[in-house]
């Protein structure tokens, strides 16, 4: 099992690196899809089947498709050199700071004393247990989320529609 994890983790990392460093945004998007699939695989290993499915359907299936739509729509060819450069040291500082964040988090996690793990309940992570939890304990966030989605729909439509003069 652990070896499977390492394979999937490796895929996720490599595709992540490629997302960041590919020139064409289209390629970045495609590598991100690979990343999502790898992470979904890791979810399966973690007894989170429903979430894995949702990850593939929503994230990889819907969100990335949306990205691809927009990339195609904007019809970007080769990346052009922009007229202005960001502030000096931005890139260098960015990398340094991100690395520092990582180290800090690792340090923080290593210092934390975690309670021991427990026994596995049989139906953990399947649809039924998710649904049960969703509609009882997390009913309010569920309802609020529906409103959030409504707002997002309206917002997206308003922002993106063409001006009809």
């Amino acid at each position: 099992m652990q070896s499977l994890f390492f394979i999937l983790a490796g895929v996720a990392l490599i595709s992540g690196v490629l997302v960041v460093f590919q020139t064409h945004p289209l390629r970045s998007a495609l590598w991100l899809i690979v990343n999502f699939f790898a992470v979904a695989g890791i979810y399966l290993l973690a007894h989170a089947e429903f979430i894995a499915a949702i990850q593939v359907i929503v994230y990889a299936g819907a969100i990335m498709v949306l990205f691809l739509f927009v990339i195609m729509l904007l019809n970007l060819r080769q990346p052009e050199e922009p007229a202005r450069r960001p502030h000096i040291g931005q890139k260098f500082l960015g990398v340094v700071l991100a690395a520092f964040t990582a180290l800090l988090l690792i340090y923080g996690f290593s210092q934390a004393k975690l309670p021991p793990s427990r026994a596995l309940a049989p139906g953990l992570g399947n649809t039924e247990s998710i649904a049960r939890s969703l509609f009882t304990d997390y009913l309010l966030p569920f309802e609020v989320t529906s409103i959030l989605l409504l707002v997002a729909i309206v917002g997206a439509v308003v922002l993106a529609k063409t001006r009809l003069k």
Partner: protein
């Protein structure tokens, strides 16, 4: 009747308000009538209170009448209240009476002046403050009056404010007075600090418990005297009085002869209880007084402006009053104050009448032989001059003679010698003035036709002349039963030392001697200005430096200018350019430019690039997380 004592200053206050606010819309005659009537009513009320007071049994006097409590803080109380005792009654009568006469005179003298209502308003305001000053029962209220008369003096000296010299003189008077007032105020503070009260009766009662020569009382009295020096124009704060002659002549008569300048003498007499305990201060008072007397008398010898002569004579006579107080003869000082009020007011009004008749001329070199043109003015002026010279039986004789007597027996022979010399010089220069103005050949400008003044001006002259004749008779010494004045005032004054008795013959001999001295002065003036008119010029050429010194008033004004005024001006220039400009403005402008500099550099953070902002966000996250992990 005593309950109405507060009305005495109120009448002139009402007069001030009416003339001040409505004066321009009222007919001119009405303005003059309101102004004079206000004082007239005060005078009548003072007289009736005086008569009632005489009927009071001895135990009931003196009285205090409280109008209202001005401030009350803990155990300290300051009230608006009047003290009715012999001293304040004498002052009230003199002030209101002489003021009334001068108001009537002014109605005629100032008739053609465009500022007529303003003049009467200020004059009434002045009398209001003066009456407060002399009627107050505590130091604080007296100081209110003190400052108020200073203010009115400034307003009236600078009455013709468009004239640069007049407004300068007003400022000079006020500033020099202020220096004295500072001393006065320090004295009041010291009194309050020591005794816990500013009420006269309380303070004097408490002071009686102190030993003679006590340091704190000496300090108090010296500080109070500084105030008196300023207000009553003694050395070294006398320089404002001659310049104050820029004001209208009745103003000089009222303020700078009869009333305001006497406030210092009144104050010293009022505090006789304190001065009796401070022999050192008394010596200082007497010394300053006699030195001032002779100093300004010498200056008066060489002046040609008739009002200046009278101004220096006022300073000199005030010196006499202080000399009297300084040797312990407070009552004599007040007596001389009263008689001086009569004849000095008369002298000034007479000078005003002369200048009125000559259309504004004041230089005696352009006068002469006015006797036949202005007889009433001449005779009244002559009576006043005889009074000031101290000739029997005019008013000045009795009061001045008493001062000379006391300066010898209660003081020392030096005081007496200087005072007698000053008397000689006084007689000399006053008669010089008379001879140059009214006798001899006429040096009047041919275009000017001198004429006598209207009755509204001459009648007051005659009244004052009458007072100058009989005014001294209330205080005849030696003959028991005739020194009413002294008996009346005695309860209000604390005696210094002990009463000594001298043989009557000694007093009479002294009287004769002083008369002889005065007569000598008159004769010298006669010789120099009537018989041999070229003599003064010859003498001036014989001793040019001496003449120059006295003609230029010993250059005191120039000395003050260089020693005091210039350094202060330079000091304030430094404060202006060095401190205000550089430090204060620098600090304010500096903080503004600091903020500007800061913002110029800080705004570079706003690059407009989202990624820079994202970097900042990440930095913040790192810091917070780091802090939380590190805890």
């Amino acid at each position: 009747m005593f309950d109405y004592v507060w009305l005495i200053p109120c009448f002139p206050l009402v007069g001030f308000l009416i003339n001040g606010f409505l004066g321009k819309r009222l007919p001119k005659n009405l303005v003059g009538i309101i102004g004079s009537a206000a004082i007239g009513l005060s005078f009548l009320l003072s007289v009736s209170i005086f008569l009632q007071y005489l009927k009071l049994p001895a135990g009931a006097r003196p009285l205090e009448k409280v109008v209202y409590t001005w401030m009350s803080a803990g155990t300290f109380q300051a009230q608006v209240a009047f003290l009715i005792d012999p001293l304040s009654l004498v002052m009230l009568l003199v002030v209101s009476g002489v003021s009334f006469i001068i108001h009537v005179y002014s109605a005629g003298y100032m008739y053609d002046d465009p500022g007529y209502p303003r003049y009467f308003a200020y004059l009434n305001l002045f009398v209001f403050f003066m009456l407060i000053l002399v009627g107050a029962n505590n130091f604080l209220l007296m100081f209110v009056g003190w400052e108020g008369v200073g203010l009115c003096s400034y307003l009236l000296i600078g009455f013709w404010y468009e004239k640069q010299s007049a407004s300068d003189a007003g400022k000079k008077a006020f500033v020099v007075n202020r220096i004295g007032d500072f001393g006065f105020l320090l004295g009041i503070f010291l009194i309050f600090w020591t005794f816990g009260s500013v009420n006269f009766r309380e303070v004097f009662a408490l002071a009686a418990k102190y030993p003679v020569g006590s340091g704190v009382i000496t300090a108090m009295t010296l500080l109070l005297f500084v105030g008196a020096t300023g207000k009553s124009a003694q050395l070294p704060l006398y320089t404002w009085l001659p310049d104050a002659m820029e004001g209208p002549t009745p103003v000089s008569a009222l303020i700078h002869a009869a009333t305001m300048v006497t406030a210092g003498v009144y104050m010293v007499a009022r505090c006789s209880a304190l001065y009796a305990l401070a022999p050192f201060s008394l010596t200082v008072v007497a010394a300053v007084g006699v030195l001032t007397a002779i100093f300004s008398a010498t200056i008066g010898m060489a002046q040609f402006d008739i009002k200046r002569v009278l101004a220096y004579s006022t300073v000199s006579q005030l010196g006499y009053m202080f000399l009297a107080c300084g040797v312990g003869a407070f009552i004599s000082g007040i007596f001389h104050l009263m008689t001086h009020a009569f004849f000095k007011a008369l002298l000034f009004l007479g000078a005003g009448s002369v200048s009125h008749g000559l259309h504004g001329e004041l230089d005696m070199r352009k006068m002469g032989d006015l006797k036949k043109h202005m007889p009433i003015t001449y005779w009244t002026f002559l009576i006043a001059t005889l009074a000031i010279a101290g000739i029997f039986p005019f008013a000045g004789f009795f009061s001045k003679d008493e001062i000379l007597f006391h300066s010898l027996v209660d003081g020392n022979v030096i005081f007496w010698g200087l005072a007698t010399a000053a008397a000689f010089i006084t007689a000399f220069y006053m008669f010089r003035a008379v001879f140059m103005t009214f006798h001899g050949e006429s040096r009047v400008d041919p275009h000017v036709h001198p004429h006598e003044s209207p009755p509204v001006m001459t009648v007051p002259l005659m009244i004052l002349a009458g007072l100058s004749v009989v005014g001294g008779l209330v205080g005849i010494p030696i003959i028991k039963g005739l020194h009413y004045f002294h008996d009346f005032l005695a309860p209000a004054i604390t005696p210094v030392g002990h009463e000594a008795h001298y043989p009557a013959a000694f007093e009479v001999a002294l009287m004769v001697f002083s008369m002889a001295v005065a007569a000598g002065g008159i004769y010298l003036a006669y010789r120099m200005y009537l018989k041999l008119p070229e003599l003064p010029t010859v003498l001036a050429e014989r001793w040019p430096t001496a003449y120059d010194l006295i003609y230029h008033k010993y250059y005191v004004d120039e000395l003050y200018d260089a020693a005091v005024v210039e350094p202060i001006k330079q000091g304030s220039d430094f404060l202006w350019l060095g401190v205000d400009d550089k430090v204060v403005d620098g600090a304010v402008n500096g903080s503004a430019s600091l903020v500007a500099w800061l913002s110029a550099h800080l705004r570079k953070l706003e690059t407009g690039f989202v990624q820079n902002y994202a970097l900042a966000v990440l930095l913040g996250v790192v810091l917070i997380t780091g802090y939380l992990i590190g805890r």
